[in-house]
């Protein structure tokens, strides 16, 4: 894949040099960031519609906090502190499964249990990181929470690509059953769905997507990109197709504009913040449209 990334980089830099593209494209980190946005946008946009329907809004935030513990464990086990992917993936998947298992054993609602796990994971992760902080740069915690899209390398991009492909292969054939399982488990059962297995698969999927995106955009931004585009698309959509497509388009456009606008306009805004602000602006506009235009009000109940 690295050769393909290189070819794209050379082509875009050539176009920038000839004046066909803005000067920002002469920088490799901008091109890497934009390549990531073309994966992250559609991925988080599509997954976000399921998150909204399943009312798991804060799950990715809880996983992001759990990643802090994963990073700390990775450092203790001797993994690189810049990319402790093995520990992060392993710990976060166990964390997600434990959360779902606890929910089935206690019958607590999704939001209550996620809230409990979110608090525990943040406290535990931050404490453990502080314990190992003598060995590392203390900015690791900041990096996990807020990411650094302008510092991604080809390893990060390859992991993101693999996770995107896994997500597509898993979600597309199971999409209907996964959605139906959260709407009405009895009906899903009658239609042959294995409801609990599907819930576990979904939780693992959101977990690996969140972890793959952590270093690039951070836990806070993953959560924002899972929720805001889906919420904005829901404001204007009448159909499921419009909802999913709208969410993917809004998420991708927010990422692209969030990367490019601060550079083009010389704004002193961090890339992550700019991405969220663009998405938030779209949400505000769609909310105004929904509340003022009868055509969109009719989409609600």
């Amino acid at each position: 894949m690295n050769a393909i990334y290189e070819a794209i980089r050379v082509a875009l830099q050539g176009m920038a040099a000839s004046g066909s593209l803005p000067q920002a494209f002469t920088y490799q980190f901008v091109i890497n960031a934009l390549l990531c946005t073309f994966l992250i946008g559609p991925l988080l946009g599509a997954l976000g519609t399921m998150i909204v329907v399943k009312r798991m809004a804060f799950f990715s935030q809880a996983v992001g906090n759990a990643a802090l513990t994963g990073v700390a464990i990775g450092i203790l086990l001797g993994e690189s502190y810049t990319s402790p992917y093995v520990s992060m993936f392993s710990f976060c998947i166990l964390f997600g499964i434990a959360l779902k298992y606890t929910q089935y054993r206690t019958n607590l609602s999704n939001d209550s249990l996620i809230g409990v796990f979110l608090s525990i994971s943040l406290a535990f992760g931050a404490s453990l990181l502080l314990y190992v902080s003598a060995k590392i740069n203390t900015h690791v915690m900041e990096s996990v929470l807020f990411g650094s899209i302008l510092a991604v390398d080809y390893t990060d991009m390859n992991i993101l690509l693999v996770v995107t492909l896994i997500s597509a292969v898993v979600v597309l054939p199971l999409y209907n059953q996964m959605l139906l399982s959260s709407l009405n488990p009895s009906l899903a059962h009658a239609r042959g769905a294995r409801v609990r297995l599907l819930e576990y698969i979904f939780v693992i999927l959101v977990t690996i997507v969140t972890v793959a995106c952590l270093k690039i955009i951070g836990a806070v931004l993953v959560e924002a990109l899972l929720l805001i585009p889906a919420a904005a698309a829901r404001n204007l959509s009448r159909t499921l197709g419009g909802f999913v497509a709208g969410s993917m388009i809004i998420a991708t456009l927010s990422c692209i504009l969030g990367v490019l606008l601060p550079m083009q306009l010389g704004l002193p805004v961090p890339t992550g913040g700019a991405i969220v602000l663009v998405a938030a602006l779209v949400f505000v506009v769609t909310t105004i449209m929904r509340t003022t235009m009868s055509r969109f009000r009719a989409t609600g109940v």
């Binding site: 329907v53 999409y175 209907n176 009895s186 059962h189 009658a190 197709g241 909802f243 609600g300 109940v301």
Partner: protein, 229 residues
């Protein structure tokens, strides 16, 4: 070919320390129209959910027959976030096809879905947001989804609870049509007159089996007291 026979064999279910079903045993014959009656909280829906494989229970529930086709199920209500942007067509796609519903309706199921919606008098609602339908309209759509593909076993959990008189008549007609084709029907029903008119067999449940048999023989006017006592 008739639908399956269903055997409930010493089915016991406990939830949170409360016994919901206690040693429930009875048999539904292949191709029968069987009604389950009983007081609220008597365990009827739990029994149905156990039949659908959704409740962990003691004892056995067996489907007997040469071949088991699809199971059609109509829940009492479809409780979900009504602001999720889904049209009736989306809901039908979600329930009847493998292709992701957000990519549109599958050609394979298109004719069957339209026929089912038309039969339930809901075809003209196909483009409407599902969340914006009235309770009765939603129930018609829920009933339509159970007709595609043609089931060999139809499980109904008070499908007429929110439905208007014309809708209830359509439900009754469709149930009789399917049953005439050999589909086994299990119907939780509170309308005893309807049970007397339509059912081949009936079971009264209040945690235990209170009575079981042919409606004309077991549905006496003294039974309602026994159901709640």
């Amino acid at each position: 070919m008739p639908g399956p026979a269903i055997v409930f064999d010493k089915v016991t279910l406990e939830l949170g320390g409360t016994r919901i079903l206690d040693n429930v045993s009875f048999r539904i014959e292949p191709g029968a129209l069987h009604c389950i009656v009983g007081a609220n909280g008597g365990g009827k829906t739990s029994l149905i959910r156990s039949l659908l494989g959704q409740m962990p229970h003691a004892g056995q529930i067996r489907l007997e027959g040469e071949q088991h086709g699809p199971v059609g199920y109509v829940p009492q209500v479809l409780d979900f976030d009504r602001n999720v942007p889904m049209t009736v067509r989306d809901v039908m796609a979600l329930l009847t096809q493998r292709k992701p519903a957000f990519l549109g309706a599958s050609r394979t199921h298109r004719a069957g879905v339209e026929a089912a919606l038309r039969r339930m008098g809901a075809l003209e609602k196909e483009q409407r947001p599902f969340g914006g339908l009235s309770g009765g309209e939603r129930q018609r759509v829920l009933f339509a989804q159970a007709l595609e593909p043609l089931p060999s076993l139809l499980v109904l959990d008070e499908p007429c609870a929110n439905i208007d008189e014309p809708g209830a008549r359509i439900v009754e007609e469709v149930v009789l049509e399917l049953n005439a084709k050999g589909v086994t029907v299990v119907w939780i029903n509170h309308d005893w007159d309807q049970v007397r008119r339509l059912a081949h067999s009936v079971t009264g449940i209040n945690r235990k089996v209170i009575f079981h048999g042919v409606p004309s023989e077991v549905l006496t006017w003294a039974e309602p007291k026994a159901m709640v006592s």
